[in-house]
Subunit: 96 residues, 2 copies
């Protein structure tokens, strides 16, 4: 019985992984859009005040089980990857 339960939980986990993949890429698309708007305005892409505010927002809404510090660490990694994506877009734009 436990193996059936484990199989079911793993199937659920695969589905949640795909949902997570989708939301992370949805977020990346939004960040690309923001990068485009910022580049037309000549505004710096990296905005530490905005990042801090997003991390505070995460802290306020965290219901667990992950601790806020863990989540903020994960989000910082996502922010970093997003910034790199904006920089790639910018390099491509400079090449055309």
């Amino acid at each position: 019985m436990s193996n059936d339960k484990l199989d079911q939980l793993r199937t659920d986990l695969d589905e949640v992984n795909l949902k997570l993949l989708e939301v992370i890429n949805e977020r990346a698309r939004l960040v690309q859009e923001i990068g485009k708007v910022k580049s037309t305005q000549g505004v710096n892409r990296f905005d530490p005040v905005r990042e801090r505010s997003m991390l505070d927002h995460i802290a306020e809404h965290n219901k667990g089980p992950f601790e806020t510090a863990t989540l903020q660490h994960l989000f910082k990694q996502i922010f970093k990857a997003s910034l790199e994506l904006q920089e790639e877009d910018n390099s491509k734009a400079l090449l055309v």
Copy 2:
């Protein structure tokens, strides 16, 4: 006009951040459940074959804009945090 657009995109980003927070915690709850089932079976929590299979699953379903290598790096961080969460649960169980 561009500032309105930037404000709108930022509002959208805040919503996506909360969605991401929710899915990451939903995933953590599932991993905790799996940890409980595994501990009753005396099975090792860390399963590199299963991790590899989840990373392959991500690669198969990635439609971008993030590159697969970037996503796999982010998921590995999430796997690591999840394993630490299971270990904490286990230590707590040993204390009672």
